[in-house]
Point group: C2
């Protein structure tokens, strides 16, 4: 997105991925792309992602920084029953409110256990949310996430995170969804660069990205056009395809969403 194109109403979001296991390389994040596409479909643009450790001061200060800067903040990770699950208490601290036992959250979690003794102290921690927060449903394993202000707190396990996001996205108020088209060819980027830069200047309302790939020793490039107006995208994609043909390439067009 060029800065010039940012004048229309744009609704922005930031994702905080909370967890040492991502920063150590042990676990590959699988939530970013799901959230990015889901937000895009409701007209919200993911503008920044931060991966931060399970360290209270870092979580509190980061949440306070990004909730002031973006329209929506989503967090993943750190809402389980173990000692390293500190997201809920950190969000409460960030908002300056106490962490309180939520009766409905307690009821949902209790329903997992036939024997009431199994609802131990650790599991009851998951029924505590910041005062004033509302629950986010967890159809997979019941222990809910929560929303407070513009911050949505979700689980880190992808299957649960995805179910939580699908259940909360009706709460979001987005702008115009971003549409995209993709034109691929096997010309090198260095041959396309000049014309591509000129095209970007003529279509300053679009965001044109060039993504090279090397597969089985073959150079390829995907040129992705993004914007909110389908006719503008179609016109730019047609110009781009014509340019590729002029340069001796074979454009392959896809409507990407």
């Amino acid at each position: 997105m060029t800065e010039a194109a940012a004048s229309e109403t744009i609704v922005t979001a930031c994702l905080l991925i909370i967890g040492n296991e991502i920063l150590s390389g042990r676990t590959q994040d699988a939530n970013l792309a799901y959230l990015a596409k889901g937000l895009n479909a409701v007209g919200v643009r993911l503008r920044e992602v931060r991966v931060i450790p399970d360290a209270a001061e870092t979580i509190v200060s980061t949440v306070n920084e990004v909730r002031a800067k973006f329209d929506y903040v989503f967090t993943t990770g750190g809402i389980g029953p173990t000692h390293d699950d500190i997201t809920a208490e950190c969000i409460a601290r960030a908002f300056g409110v106490p962490l309180v036992l939520d009766p409905e959250a307690r009821r949902r979690i209790a329903a997992n256990y036939a024997n009431p003794a199994d609802l131990n102290e650790a599991r009851l921690r998951m029924a505590h949310i910041p005062e004033g927060a509302s629950l986010i449903d967890n159809p997979v394993s019941r222990a809910p996430g929560f929303q407070i202000g513009n911050v949505f707190v979700m689980a880190g396990v992808p299957r649960i995170m995805q179910a939580m996001f699908d259940g909360l996205k009706h709460r979001l108020r987005g702008g115009a969804p971003v549409l995209s088209r993709s034109v691929s060819c096997s010309l090198p980027e260095g041959v396309l660069a000049k014309g591509l830069g000129e095209l970007q200047q003529r279509y300053a309302d679009l965001d044109i990205g060039s993504y090279p790939s090397y597969r089985q020793g073959k150079i390829g490039v995907a040129l992705v056009l993004r914007g909110t107006e389908a006719p503008r995208l179609a016109a730019a994609a047609a110009e781009l395809a014509a340019m590729i043909r002029r340069l001796g390439g074979d454009p392959v067009e896809e409507e990407a969403g």
Copy 2:
């Protein structure tokens, strides 16, 4: 890592992933985990990752924020020949130096082309680095990355990024490498949580993480212990295995590195 354990000499790093294609969900990042593990092996701890768009102001201000905050900063993405490749000029702006043509970078890039006319203006952009920077070798496609101060600028294409990192890591001065052990079992986290929290308190010099998984309908949990002293890790892992057995589980231990 508990804050109490941070008293020894710890060398920290931040990764900036620069690119709209990651934020749109089009491309799945594959560099974070590689960098995390590679840094860990040389005693540098990846403490934060940010994914930011191809937007000049954001890149400049983020680079300046994180290079003051962490010992090392690594960037991936945005150093190709097209209009959306703005990382080098943004790093130059962040350091307050001009972008200059580097003769050695030019020579390496020129070697890709039998016909000198193919070394066009777009490709020559890749031979420009901030004044005072040193080159990072690119054994895959030649166009180099660069280092300036504590900031290492690498390509986004994973095969190139990995080769660049492997070639530069001898420049890094790390602390003690972080060792880890993993103990897995099929008990639920809620059963383990109390004992695990007590173990973390007794081993405040270690970082103990609990990572649940749901595979083929089966609950599992990996308990990962991290620290710099192998005997402490071994002692904690043995206590953890004994605890799991007491709770009726079957611990599976792995030395994780």
